[in-house]
């Protein structure tokens, strides 16, 4: 295997920059998804993104806008349903999941379908990096401004309401942030794998963290680490740009396995004391 550093071009730096920013924002949002046991929801959402990719292909505009167009209305409706209607949420998610995949497959021809499902970092340009910077800044401002409220809601929605937190408003912004990150992430790792970008770093962090500060820092670290490893591997070793997504997820899963093992060893040690 011939590993060289020739691949570190300006184009690759745009890819790496976009990937790292999306991973960082995704791993932070993931904390609030995992702690609220909403991992399945993010899975359904990422599949809703697929018809969005189809829409973008047919109307000939950027995937980012197509995905947003598909996601935002679905998210807002989901938020409303969650507040107003008593329905088994996982059933609803399961239906949306399958339906979106079907529509996506129907709208997209072969090559584009593969790109939609697994992403293709070869298509990421300077323009995408700029969109990513602006969008991730918005998500970062949201998380920083409402950090306390997000943690309170994740701890207990009931308690947050007692504390007069604007739960409905913050949940709506949270869903919009999720949509934005999914729309950005689709290009890099695709609709099938994007939810792992949100879920795995946060779950790994929760395995190790002893308090909320550690949870945030570790999730960020694991998210960025997995993404960087995946992109470097896809670009330098495999030299196949559509490999980035799967490699990122394999790297994330390896980190999760490691943190899980550490957690088990720790709990064995503490019960032996």
């Amino acid at each position: 295997m011939n590993i060289s550093t020739n691949f570190i071009t300006a184009d690759f730096l745009f890819i790496l920059g976009s990937g790292v920013l999306v991973a960082a924002a995704g791993s932070l949002l993931g904390i609030f998804l995992v702690s609220r046991k909403m991992a399945l929801v993010s899975d359904a959402l990422s599949h809703v993104a697929l018809p969005g990719v189809g829409l973008a292909f047919i109307l000939n505009f950027d995937i980012f806008w197509g995905v947003l167009l598909a996601l935002i209305p679905v998210l807002l409706v989901l938020n409303l349903i969650e507040q107003k209607v008593r329905i088994d949420f996982s059933t609803l998610v399961g239906i949306i999941f399958a339906f979106s995949l079907a529509v996506g497959v129907f709208l997209l021809p072969g090559e584009e379908l593969l790109e939609g499902l697994f992403g293709d970092i070869g298509k990421i340009m300077k323009k995408d990096f700029l969109i990513t910077m602006v969008t991730v800044s918005f998500v970062a401002i949201f998380i920083i401004k409402y950090y306390r409220e997000l943690l309170l809601i994740s701890f207990s929605e009931e308690w947050a309401r007692i504390k007069k937190t604007k739960v409905t408003f913050i949940n709506a912004l949270f869903y919009v942030s999720l949509a934005l990150i999914i729309a950005l992430g689709i290009k890099i790792i695709g609709a099938l794998l994007i939810s792992s970008l949100l879920i795995i770093p946060a779950s790994s962090a929760i395995n190790l963290a002893r308090n909320s500060k550690e949870m945030i820092i570790l999730s960020l670290l694991f998210g960025v680490l997995g993404m960087t490893a995946g992109l470097l591997f896809a670009e330098s070793v495999a030299e196949i740009t559509s490999f980035a997504g799967p490699v990122v997820i394999i790297a994330q899963t390896a980190i999760f396995a490691f943190t899980f093992a550490v957690k088990k060893i720790r709990s064995k040690k503490s019960s032996a004391k």
């Binding site: 904390i31 995992v34 702690s35 609220r36 046991k37 306390r148 943690l151 309170l152 994740s154 701890f155 207990s156 929605e157 009931e158 308690w159 309401r161 007692i162 504390k163 007069k164 962090a205 929760i206 963290a209 002893r210 308090n211 909320s212 500060k213 550690e214 949870m215």
Partner: protein
């Protein structure tokens, strides 16, 4: 004594229900006083507390005489049951900090230190929720309800899930808070012995107000039969 809360002719109904949850409830709470609320399950005790907190809509009058309009800042509330997500890596310290209203980092740390010491719970400080027992969670929520120096404290069955020792500790602290004299307390309890021991006045609730007054006068056999049905008997402890 200064009156902190006046409730007049309170009526609460849920959307679409023809029968109100509670109606015709009038009482007041003074500074330094503990009001015990008793009644069977489903009698509207929790609903009453949520209306005072401003979470539920109501008809009638709830007049609070507190230093701020922001109820979440001046009223401490301990719910009976709370659905919490333990998978979040929050420690007791993290959680208490989240519950302190705008103060500097140093002041927050000091307030947490004081409240942990007040409830002799320093050992819980760095524990995550996933490692806490039900009683310890209840104690942590109790600490959170006290953090912002509330002028009014609403406690919904404060010893739910606590073992007898923890129960005694919580009640001991409620007495201590009452004796300080600068706070009004409303507590819901099923335990009539506790109520007659702790409460200056008692409110009996069963969708409507059955009694309101000092425990010795209000808690008689007639009232209790009206409250819990014909089978109940009142035994006086002979000391």
């Amino acid at each position: 004594m200064e009156t902190l809360l006046t409730v007049r002719n309170l009526k609460i109904s849920f959307n679409g229900d023809t029968e109100p949850i509670i109606q015709g409830v009038s009482f007041n709470v003074k500074k330094g006083e503990a009001l015990g609320v008793i009644g069977p399950n489903g009698s509207g005790k929790t609903t009453l507390l949520l209306a005072i907190l401003g979470i539920l809509p109501y008809e009638g009058e709830i007049k609070l005489n507190l230093s701020s309009e922001k109820k979440e800042e001046v009223i401490g509330y301990l719910p009976q049951k709370l659905d919490i997500n333990k998978s979040l890596s929050l420690t007791v310290y993290d959680f208490l900090k989240l519950n302190i209203n705008s103060r500097s980092q140093k002041e927050k740390d000091l307030a947490i230190k004081e409240i942990l010491a007040f409830l002799h719970s320093e050992d819980l400080k760095n524990k995550q929720f996933i490692h806490l027992s039900r009683g310890q969670i209840q104690r942590t929520l109790f600490m959170a309800s006290l953090l912002n120096n509330p002028q009014m404290l609403l406690l919904d069955e404060p010893t739910t899930g606590a073992d007898p020792t923890a129960e005694e500790t919580i009640y001991k602290h409620i007495i201590e808070l009452k004796e300080k004299g600068d706070i009004g307390i409303i507590f819901v309890s099923h335990d009539l012995t506790i109520v007659s021991k702790l409460a200056d006045r008692v409110l009996c609730l069963n969708k409507q107000m059955i009694c309101f007054g000092e425990p010795r006068e209000a808690l008689n056999e007639k009232t209790l039969k009206k409250l819990y049905g014909e089978d109940i008997k009142l035994y006086e402890h002979q000391h």
